[in-house]
Point group: C2
Chain length 238, copies 2
DNA sequence: CTTTATATGTGAAACTTCTCACATAAATGC
DNA sequence: GCATTTATGTGAGAAGTTTCACATATAAAG
């Protein structure tokens, strides 16, 4: 009997889907542009304006909008406020979203202070840490012990959590979060979490992000690097 | 004359390519698994072991290895150490990679303390901030003023930078980094940076990561949500 | 009010990525 | 040492994504 057969039975089947399809990622990209253009006083955009700004083709922009049922005005282009409204609705930004943050280490602390979340109607209502020395208000948001998790999740109807705990406890904490009703997690621990299929996991691996840049920078420095790079580069970064 | 025509001339064409193709992202995924399995004392894996662990199909695993010229043993599977060696080479982890970090706000500080970078041979040799009050050693890494950037980049032959500055100064700092020889940037500012085509940009947008989870959680809660979700979910998260 | 110019929206074609299926190689058993 | 089993590696086919091209709508101009 091989060891892999044992492994099969020890582990629950991994469910790590790609939660963000490319077209949705591009919507984020377009929105970033639109916000900037709006600040500059622009009121109307055309598919090729956004295309130029984001490095996507104008066909792609229109197809993407079409997919999410965002429509413009033939010959007249798109109204920036209309577009932004549509996107707000898409991301449910009309209502506030309550979030919990688990793990108040360096990264957790930084995330709890990240002001952009609030600007985008995502409120971290409480943070949690097993270390009792961290149980005080830092950065204006209370830090609780894990045994108050259920209470807070219920009171604020929290569905989404940010996980910034050490990798060693990530799975354990995830299991507890799901037991208490969390259905979506942004995971900063460099671990592949095992979760039931209905739970949404979005992994953000800081090392991987850096390493992939290093990979392409090295590739670029090779003699025939640029050709190789162009090949790998033919798609857009969303 | 329409405003978009003006815009075309004001802005340099955006070059934001997708720097990480899916197969490469999956390689990171496989490696995360392999590291864990190795810690558990496993020495050999088969494509379907990795497949089960990562939620990818076994065909995909083999195809991916094939693409990066990583080969196993027919009938014998893959040796974990061999695989990891291959991946180290792929990411140039045999040699050390010197990195600079710009912006020592909350996030920058957290990143400068992130121990995983060092474990993976990515050394932040110096950090920079415009605020002179931050010019002291925090977290063991020196904090310099921006006018020492060139000196440090040259001395440590730095090619890659982490950008954790406010969005307002992100473009300006980027221009300076590129002038001083940086060719790869992990950008945490929620801005689409304009860079020459040979410069690698990897954007990490924390709000977008959270919002995309919220998007799918809401989708799931709708009546017919699950069907929709399954459709969007058919691909894997790499 | 009619004409013209131009930007959208979308099927169809081209291209890319993934899955399937099987030939091939190597370990195991007899 | 031969037969058998089983996992890899890879063309071929399927599925998905992007680009193309044009019909359609509408703003602007005459």
């Amino acid at each position: 009997m091989h060891i892999e057969i044992i492994l099969k039975h020890v582990y629950v089947k991994q469910v790590t889907k790609r939660i963000v399809k490319n077209s949705l990622k591009r919507i984020f990209l377009y929105r970033a542009c639109l916000v900037r253009l709006k600040l500059m006083g622009v009121e109307k955009v055309f598919s090729y304006t956004l295309a130029d700004e984001t490095g996507v083709t104008s066909d792609q922009v229109r197809k993407d909008f079409s997919e999410f049922n965002i429509r413009g005005n033939k010959r007249g282009g798109y109204d920036i406020n209309d577009l932004l409204d549509n996107m707000e609705k898409l991301f449910h930004r009309n209502k506030d979203n309550n979030i919990v943050l688990i793990g108040m280490g360096n990264l957790g602390l930084a995330l709890s202070k990240y002001s952009k979340f609030v600007q985008r109607h995502m409120n971290i209502v409480a943070t949690f840490d097993i270390d009792p020395f961290k149980h005080k208000i830092r950065s204006g948001i209370p830090v609780y012990s894990m045994n108050r998790l259920k209470e807070i999740i219920d009171r604020f109807r929290v569905k989404v959590a940010i996980l910034a705990v050490p990798e060693i406890s990530a799975q354990e904490v995830t299991d507890e979060l799901i037991r208490q009703g969390i259905t979506g997690i942004v995971n900063f621990a460099p671990v592949l979490l095992k979760v039931p299929p209905e739970v949404i996991i979005n992994n953000v691996n800081l090392c991987d992000e850096l390493e992939s840049v290093i990979y392409y920078v090295h590739l670029q420095n090779k003699d025939n690097g640029l050709k190789n790079l162009e090949l790998l580069y033919k798609d857009m970064k969303y």
